[in-house]
Amino acid sequence: MIAIEILGLEKTYSVGFWRKKPKCALKPLHLTVEEGEIFGFLGPNGAGKTTTLKLLMGLVFPTAGSARILGMEVDDPRMKAQIGFLPEQPYFYDYLTARELLNYYGQLSGVAAKERSRKIDDVLQRVGLPDVGGVQLRKFSKGMLQRVGIAQAILHDPKLLFFDEPMSGLDPMGRREVRDLMEQLKQEGKTVFFSTHILSDAEALCDRVAIIHQGELRGVGAVADLTSSVHGKVEIVWQGTAVPSSLRALGAECHVTGDTVRAVLSEANQDSAIDALRRERLRLISVIPVRTSLEDYFVQKLQPAEAVAGVKS
């Protein structure tokens, strides 16, 4: 079943005070996200990720096109009761304590009073803030605010979550915890749509990703498919600092790092290379086919179309 269906969503702003000029923030976007998947929306800063999320949240109005979330219009309150949203670099009412803020959001989301207290304790525990519920948010660090932001998004047990740069402001441990939390949410059957420019997070978490650049969708697909194209090359790593001359004769590109050597060569020469290492009694560490990384794919998609065509020709 489709969780998010975007049909030609487009946004153009008018900029300037006197003679207003149109500025296209999002070119017609067509995208679907299935229920139960973690979907990464990737792009560099200013690519149109936040604009797309704001359009889906009904915070800005589209110039053209439409979107349906859980089969409902984006301004339908019944739909909004079933989604959670974490904005980029969230800022909350700093005169409230974390518990008061979550209570307020729980009230607005229609969480029953008798359940609210238990749910607040639960989410504060889940985001790693079990002991600071009574502290005013003005005393929170950026990372703690990010965690509160995640807590308010999951408080009312939504089916679908929208996270705008969820790892922003978090230390490595915090990022790891958020990644674990997103995987837990997926296991609970929830759909997660998150924007990021940190590719390692996307590669580790996402079932599918879309790449957006200059307001235009440049590519979309399953992470496994995008990173599985093999170049017909293998990477062989062994212990030592010596490179047998027979390996160089096979056309291997070798790099010595500390006490290991990494060689990349044609897949056709793989067996000959392994035989050469055995003859020299060198200890083999790994033999791995060279695949496209998400980063390679991302960089390729961000290049202008003409540059890509030029490289191919």
Binding site: V60, F61, Y91, L108, Q152
Partner: protein, 258 residues
């Protein structure tokens, strides 16, 4: 009223209290105590008149300043700090947000006015040692001041829904000043001719008529306020505030929250 409006209103009230807005009551209490002691010493026979004039004018001025300076930031601050995003991504309609904010600030002003009214009556009791029957008209003057608060709060929200806090403050304060001379503006319109008359009359009826809602002087002189004026002013203030609030909702419903 929808539950969400109540929650937004109570959060707005809590924000005002925690931002120490009600601390102005301390300044007011000091002003009233000082005035009562001073007036008691220097005025002969007119202590009540001075205390009522000074007290009610201060209630009006303090409340107006709070209404304008909080009201202008009610929407723009939420957009600027992006706190609005997590509210409107929930099952909250935009009009509910505006109406909730209005009631939150109106509630703050009423609580403020209540405590200041207690201060006025306290000072009155200090200077005249007992209450008179005519003092009950002070309550009517306070009621009219609260009606003024409702109008200026709705106007501040209206300006806040489309302009910056600074411009909103300028607009709201300008309307407060012009509205305080609305009767004079209507008198001036009657003296003009042709297109000028149309323009002046239009402007006179467009600005809020705060002068009709100001009965401080007559109440201080122990003059009664007619039931008809109370009724007319109530209807006028409610219609004016509702129209300003509807304008704020209409603008905000179509605003892109960049």
């Amino acid at each position: 009223m929808s539950g969400r409006i109540v929650h937004i209103a109570s959060n707005t009230f809590r924000e005002a209290v925690r931002d120490r807005v009600l601390y102005n009551l301390i300044a007011f209490a000091l002003l009233m105590s000082g005035a009562a002691i001073l007036v008691g010493q220097i005025s002969i026979e007119i202590e009540r008149l001075v205390v009522i004039n000074l007290g009610l004018s201060a209630v009006s001025l303090f409340g107006m300043v709070i209404a304008i300076f909080i009201g202008i930031g009610l929407v723009s601050k939420e957009i600027e700090k992006r706190t609005l995003y997590t509210v409107l991504s929930r099952p909250v309609r935009r009009w509910e947000f505006i109406v909730g904010k209005f009631f939150g600030l109106a509630g703050t002003l009423m609580v403020n006015a209540f405590f200041m009214a207690v201060g006025v009556f306290g000072a009155l009791l200090y200077v005249s040692r007992h209450f008179q029957r005519a003092d009950s008209w002070v309550l009517v003057a306070l009621y009219f001041i609260i009606l003024q608060f409702l109008i200026i709060t709705a106007l501040a929200l209206l300006f806040s829904s489309f302009s910056s806090p600074l411009l909103s403050a300028v607009f709201a304060f300008a309307l407060f000043v012009i509205g305080s001379f609305a009767e004079d503006l209507r008198g001036f319109a009657a003296l003009t001719h042709g297109v000028m008359r149309w323009l002046a009359t239009g402007a006179a009826y467009l600005v809020p008529n705060f002068s009709a809602l100001n009965v401080i002087s007559s109440v201080a002189h122990q003059q009664p306020v007619s039931g008809q004026l109370i009724w007319y002013n109530t209807i006028y203030a409610l219609i004016y505030a509702t129209m300003a609030l509807c304008g704020a909702v209409l603008i905000f419903e179509h605003r892109n929250l960049k």
